[in-house]
């Protein structure tokens, strides 16, 4: 094996390695997601965060404006306190509302911000006061089951037993529809 040929092939080999790794980093992974530039922190408190996780996206009108950096329990109010890192290029009004929404049926949950009408902008460390909690599936389904049932055997005590049992009339149909194709892509 001539020395020059070996060197050529090893060079090609290393080049393939670099190209593969670059491809994996750029096209496959979320390279842009990790570099955010400057951010400022905003807080919001929710009654229930559902399945929200740290690093979940924060979107306004469907556009990514930041990420959740911390989730903790506020021991005074016993509500969930979420810290969001918003990009400095985005300004929100003080009465912006924050809701926890779900992207698609098996999708992950994220925070959606809806701009309010207040002229005053928000500063770092501000806490959004208008929040809507996550929809935990068991609660509304359980409520629907007990309200739709109505036979003597189904009293309020049985409502917790089988929340996934769909009654014959299926009032959940409309409900599921709005969950899946609700406010968000």
């Amino acid at each position: 094996m001539k020395r020059a040929t070996i060197d050529l092939w090893v060079g090609i080999f290393v080049a393939i390695g670099i190209v593969s790794t670059t491809f994996l980093s750029l096209k496959v992974a979320n390279l842009t997601g990790s570099t955010h530039g400057n951010t400022y922190a905003i807080y919001a408190e929710f009654d229930n965060i559902g399945g929200l996780k740290v690093k979940a996206p924060v979107k306004a009108s469907g556009v990514l404006v930041g990420r959740i950096s911390k989730i903790e329990l506020n021991t005074e109010t016993y509500r969930a306190r979420v810290t969001m890192d918003i990009g400095t290029q985005y300004e929100f009004s003080r009465d912006t509302s924050a809701e926890i929404l779900t992207a698609g049926l098996p999708g992950e949950q994220y925070i959606g911000l809806t701009q309010g009408g207040d002229i005053d902008g928000v500063q770092a460390g501000h806490r959004f006061s208008r929040t809507a909690p996550a929809l935990v599936l068991e609660q509304p389904i359980g409520k629907s089951v007990t309200s739709a049932a109505g036979t003597p055997a189904d009293s309020k005590e049985h409502s917790g037993e089988s929340p996934y049992e769909i009654p014959a009339k299926n009032p959940l149909h409309h409900f599921r529809y709005s969950l899946c194709f609700g406010p968000e892509p």
Binding site: V10, F13, G17, L24, V28, A29, S34
Partner: protein
């Protein structure tokens, strides 16, 4: 009856002691390889030559296997996901499975079978034909000249092969999912980009492959150096390389996954 039990227990004890002794010896061997590697800085040609034999010659098997694994993932993944109406998540499924687990593990197993066993056979044969002794008698350190270049070549090659395996696998999944089955191309790549994190998935997978590279190459080189200098000895050393590498890779994979994910 009791005697056979006692004999078998004694064999088991012996075997365990042998395994532990081997591990200790292998660690000292690793240390001595690293110590003797200094001359390679002035003679990179030796390492480059071994990278050719260990890495470049494994390209075909890695690429073809990666492609097939990706295609199978695409097929099986689609059949399962479509039941939950989540067929667009196929991209994420293929990419994450490959980057985190299948890529590093399978590439390491293939590397052990092809290049690892070749290294063991080569070194074992050199030992059996007294070439290593001849080198020593000519005032050339066989560890620096024969063992160390192969060791570093293996560590260098395996991450590259793993990256290539992953790329081929993702394209295999793409071929099945988008071209053959007809999923949306944009959904395949964008869902993947959303699900795959550079640090968590890509880097961790690469780190795994480096660990595997060290383990597989060390085992290969050690078994060759330690082989009995006969034909039967070399052949059983080669088998041991493949089997031990496989077990160590899978065990390490578990430990590393527990650490990282």
């Amino acid at each position: 009856m009791l005697e056979t039990l006692a004999t078998n227990l004694r064999h088991l004890g012996n075997w365990t002691i042998n395994v532990i002794w081997k591990m200790g010896f292998a660690t000292r061997f690793l240390w001595s390889i690293v110590l003797h590697s200094a001359p390679l800085i002035t003679r990179p040609g030796l390492v480059i030559r071994e990278i050719y034999f260990a890495g470049v010659l494994s390209l075909i098997i890695i690429m073809v296997s990666g492609l097939f694994v990706g295609m199978v993932l695409g097929l099986q993944g689609y059949t399962t996901l479509v039941r939950f109406g989540s067929a667009e998540a196929l991209g994420s499924l293929v990419a994450l499975s490959l980057l985190r687990e299948l890529g590093p593990v399978l590439a390491a197993l293939l590397f052990a079978s092809r290049s690892g066993s070749a290294m063991t056979a080569e070194i074992g044969l050199m030992k059996a034909t007294e070439q290593l002794d001849a080198m020593a008698v000519m005032a050339v350190d066989p560890i620096a000249r024969v063992i160390a270049p192969r060791f570093w070549a293996g560590i260098f090659s395996l991450p590259i092969l793993t990256a290539l395996f992953n790329v081929m696998g993702i394209f295999g999944g793409y071929y099945i999912g988008v071209i053959m089955i007809g999923l949306d191309e944009g959904a395949y790549w964008s869902q993947m980009q959303n699900a795959v994190d550079l640090h968590e998935d890509v880097f961790n997978g690469m780190i795994k492959s480096v660990f595997f590279g060290v383990a597989v190459t060390l085992i290969a080189v050690f078994e060759g150096y330690d082989a009995e200098p006969t034909a039967a000895g070399v052949s059983s050393a080669t088998t041991r390389t493949v089997v031990t590498s496989a077990l160590v890779i899978l065990a390490m994979d578990f430990v590393l996954t527990a650490f990282m994910f």
